[in-house]
Symmetry: C2
Subunit: 196 residues, 2 copies
DNA sequence: CGTCTATTTGAATGTACTCAAAAGCGGTGG
DNA sequence: CCACCGCTTTTGAGTACATTCAAATAGACG
């Protein structure tokens, strides 16, 4: 739908200015796709097809541990990007799976189309550089938190950083994101807000 | 020294092609700096001056936990970049400190000069986009490892990934990087290779 | 209403931490 | 060249944070 593309263009225009011809190129390169709740966009081991921008709903990416445990790497609500950068850049099998947590709509651009877009609109290098830098900042912050904070403090950080996500996520996903078992998370929650 | 700049240009030329005029611009934007062992490039709370490329020696970046514990975020041997991206991009106080572990030489470019360079040589957006993407991949990989692997496996991964670093780093730094206390790390090492 | 999944609760366990102290190692100055 | 000092590594005992397993309870969805 046209509305989804507008959301994307709005995001891009926060960082760079595109002229009408360039806007058309961008429009043509991204493809709308609908995902149903619990549908997978990609599964671990596959090679990522392209870069994904979420316009509606929520996706999550996660890695499987040896014991089969899922570790949530990222939540992507509307207006967020999601991808396994490793798989996209190196074109090797993904360590991550990506799944819709709600019925969602995404705009996807394939790697060849993205590479072409970089050639046609060099300004986009700037946009995606900034995007990668910001993502980098988030990962670094999360790494520091994981190394230095207790589970409770990591949860509190999460609440501050993503207040709107808390209400719409099953708590096992939040537990996984902050890096604890669902059982422990449950106990932790009850210990700070004893059952009412 | 001229040699240091050549190392930098070599790195850049792995990804983009610069003409002689552009090379001169790059040369002019980076400044050589020497650091003595244990000298700090920046301390937590300061605002990062610029982006750093190491040409000789080794630096490390680390964050301080609440208890005063140091958490190594990155090692940067020769040919690596090091920075607190958060502080550089947002121009806010750094969460990280950066210290030389050996006598080292670095090339530094200030944020204003970097911004100017982006304007003068748009191709550099591409180079630093790729750089940020690769760094992102590393952080993500490390995050997954921290979430899903035991300390011993994280150490084994570290050995595979940075074999050349192991011999020249004090083990307390390796312990900190993989996220365990030096005491525990020592016990772990003796348990896999009992004293000879 | 029944089934499936998510959450809670409890007990036993494990991985890694803290604190304290001893031993090892390396560099520096006499 | 040796002795000393400071820092790193080792060792041990006690502890904490979080996990695992099992089972009960609660919710959500068709």
């Amino acid at each position: 739908m046209e509305k989804d593309i507008l959301i994307l263009l709005e995001e891009i225009s926060n960082h760079i200015r595109l002229n009408p011809a360039e806007i058309d190129l961008v429009k043509g390169a991204f493809h709308l796709q609908k995902l149903k709740k619990k549908e997978f966009l990609i599964k671990e081991g596959e090679i990522i097809k392209g870069l994904v921008f979420v316009t509606q709903g929520i996706l999550r990416s996660f890695a499987l541990g040896e014991n089969g445990m899922e570790h949530v790497i990222q939540f992507a609500p509307s207006r967020w990007w999601i991808v396994d950068m490793f798989s996209l850049v190196k074109q090797k099998p993904s360590r991550l799976s990506i799944e819709a947590l709600e019925n969602s709509q995404i705009l996807q651009i394939s790697k060849p189309d993205l590479d072409k877009l970089y050639r046609d609109i060099p300004k986009l290098e700037r946009f995606f550089r900034i995007l990668a830098e910001n993502s980098l900042i988030n990962y670094q912050s999360r790494l520091i938190n994981n190394l230095s904070l207790t589970a409770l403090k990591r949860y509190e950080h999460f609440c501050e950083q993503y207040p709107e996500l808390i209400q719409c996520l099953a708590q096992k996903y939040i537990a996984s994101y902050i890096g604890v078992s669902p059982e422990f998370f449950s106990k932790m929650m009850n210990s700070i807000a004893p059952k009412r």
